[in-house]
Amino acid sequence: MTTPDDGQGGDGQTETNNGTTQEQVQYLSPTDHLVRASMALRGVRPSVEELETVRANPDALPGVVDTYIESEAFGTTIRDMHNEGLELRTFVFWFPPVGELSDLSVMELNASVQESPLRLIEHVVMNDRPYSEILTADYTVANEVVATVWGMDYNGDGESWVETRWPDQGRVHAGVLSDSFLYMRHYTTPLNAQRRRANMVTKNFLCFDFLSIDINVDGNVDLSDPEAVKDAVKSPECASCHDSLDPLSALFWRHEFFIAPGEFTRYPVSFYQPDYERVYRPLFTDREPDYFGLPANDVRELGQHIVADGRFASCTVERFYGYLAQVEPEAIPSSEAQSLRDQFIDSNMNAKALAKAIVLSDAFRIAQVTTADGEERSFLQKARPRQWSRMMEDLVGFRWEVNLDLPLDFVGGGTYGRTDLMSDSFFGYEVLAGGSDDFTVTRMVHTLNPTISLVFDAFAQEAAGYVVERDFSGMSARPLLTVGNDTNEAAVRGELAQLHLKLFAEFVEPNSEEVDRSFDLFTAALGMSNDPVRAWKTVLTAMFQDSRLIYY
């Protein structure tokens, strides 16, 4: 059993004897812990004031974390976290800006439409509803764009996401299980008989993937004959999956199989087809709907069953821990997972409490661990592309945006529009920076390689150029640089010390060794160009791609 440090502001070094192995644990300092918690929860760094508060009083850290989980940025993190499983942000299912929405760009339109299931989850979490409500909510949420697309009532200010209902008569509401875009993205075919959708639900909310099991298909079966297929899935080789998968799948027949949004010529549209259950379901399955043997007639009952299933709480812990600590499920310490699960259930499934418990745990604040044979877990986390974008906008006021005035015929209309290149996997660098495109590239890369390094180098050059020009012109209300053309050593060192604090959370004196290195860089650059503007651009380009910023 490892023990935490004494919170005195230094690294904790503890030796333990775990029977046969000697384990050394090094913990983060309180301020570094705050950085990691802030990045994990919000995707932005702590403010200087927050760092100073925790440095002076490490016991204040939990209180600061409380403000983080109440912030809008945490809501954004909740959306990003769930998107890693639901994979909704893909160009393959872009809606065209047509009809009433023709004045929007493709990017603007889809930043709303594709987010609707994620916005519902965010709404539940940020309003302290039981997390289970993501699958049981008797409402949905929409902004004006989404309401226009689907024909919903909307009584907000246009931008706000407010509670509303799907417009269809008799349509059952069950949180995200009712969302049309969720089913549009996770399409099916008649012969697939909704199995893909069913597996998407079990994989995301029970952490059970039917596809992980090997199958052997009998070539004697004529798969072009639906009746033959119905019989085949009851054979001993197939029943172990299909006996539970097929009744589950029988619950998802009330939506279209597949529509390419590019076919839309006006709004509202509908993906809801309740008659398909009566007309098509009997053709492709003779299974009565149920949930692993328990009666279920619609997605409302499905949602109730899922949240009552013990696997739901475990899977939720796995998802939150895996995202916040950037680890694979199998790397989550089992004792930690069990404890978190119990706490989560006891809190009436409060997701904020779960997130807080994770980031305040001893396991989360480990800096480095070594065992006797040198093997260890990784504790350095890399900023995800979307986190990086938010972080740098918050830190230095720069967002890597371009306005791509390009027509997109394959979408069905409209122009691309203004885009954040770090959050864009089509034209931009989200995938090159280690992110996913939610369709073919679905695994994140949490380390650096040369193409990822190229992205950060280019970003640094763009940001440095912008920031220095802006600050030297005096046009910013919140400048990063304040020293201007003053190249006096004391002034420059003072500025550098402030940059170290703001960017790297390092409390260093202007005459410290760390600042010496940065000052050497400034001096060398100034000596080359004799231009303080270029010298600062050189320094910031280096700082904006420092490992202390990319890894936390």
Binding site: D218, Q368, E376, D437, T447, T451, L521, T541
Partner: protein, 424 residues
Amino acid sequence: MSGINRRQLLAGGVAALAATALPWWKRLALAQDGPQQQRNLLLVFVGGGWDVTASIDPKPGLTTIDSPPGDVRLFGNIPVLTGSDRPAVGNFFTTWGDLCAVVNGVEVRSIAHEECTKRILTGTNNSNRPDMGAIAGVENGADLAVPYMILGNTAFSGPYGGSTGRAGMLGQVITLLEPEFSYSAFFGNNTRFKPTDAEADLIKQHVLNRANVRQSKVGEHGLNKRRMDDFIGSVERRDLLRPMLSESEENDLTSQLEFVPQIDLALQLFKSGISRSVLIEHPGEWDTHAENNAQQLYQHQDLYTGLNTLMERLMREGLFESTTVVVVSEMSRTPKLNSQNGKDHWPVTSAMVLGSQVRGGQVYGGTDVYQNSVPTNLLTGKADDSVSTTITSAGFASGVLTLMGVDPEPYFPGVEPLRGFINS
């Protein structure tokens, strides 16, 4: 060439450890220190599921299988379904058949695209595992700038993410290689800082120095060290990607959506010594749930036109001797047509392997009249009813690694590789 000292990337004391059953990060360190085969691997991924009965596993005249139209021609010992509407198929085997090993009956044991893709490329059902390209790239080219470059979309680098690079959906990596190609140059305010060579060198050295200091604090061991090694190595090597920029005018963004530009870039990466493995992807619509025959034959014509070009250029560039080409698709199609004259997903697929060390002009493995995999002697690669083994995706991947001079045992412990197509 890369300027990287391989010793700098080694974990301490690794050489003393046994080579089997190692965690992946120790495998990487050993690969970097050991002798490396100068063998390139070009993986051609045909995404969506090709109908193998339309070409390399012909099954005409059966009541159990709905074969596309065509005639079976024999190219050496390789029967191929051909037709006047897709001459590129016949042309390919006429010219390159004796260098080509066809492998039929590869079991992926799933019928979902994502799952099958994972299995055919990695040989496992675990998306955290590296695919053939990543393994071969790292084992044979760990000190290159980007040992494994992904020009298509679908690949699995697993723990070798630090040794993998991507070009982007549209090949947009080129916009990062020269400021004048950047988006901001065309669409933005263009306030980007453009450092001189000397300034860029200052920046690089500073970044590396600070990273080394950080490594001494939190990156001395295991996976933390690997993260910092990746950071340092990436900064060192990224400028070596510059040859990816074409000398010609063809640096337009959408070119990477096409097959032949991917081929050209892959060969450029090999020639420039940037990569040892490259994955390219044929962009066709292969998932033919409706009108199977017309679509599949059209795609086959396009694919084989590209493969002909690939082989011609490999020869012309003098790369054939050092390059192995592996063509795979994640699944095949059902034996019978469905009600829309399409074919659905089938868990037994085929592959092609071409190279100077391939025993070509042969078919290995096979399928029966129901398109199920037949028992195969993995040593000879020949169908053999006296054995119980079939060709699995793991066995195929192990065989490819063996062909590439990589010991597959640490990656696929206990799996018998398919060796029949390897010239001893």
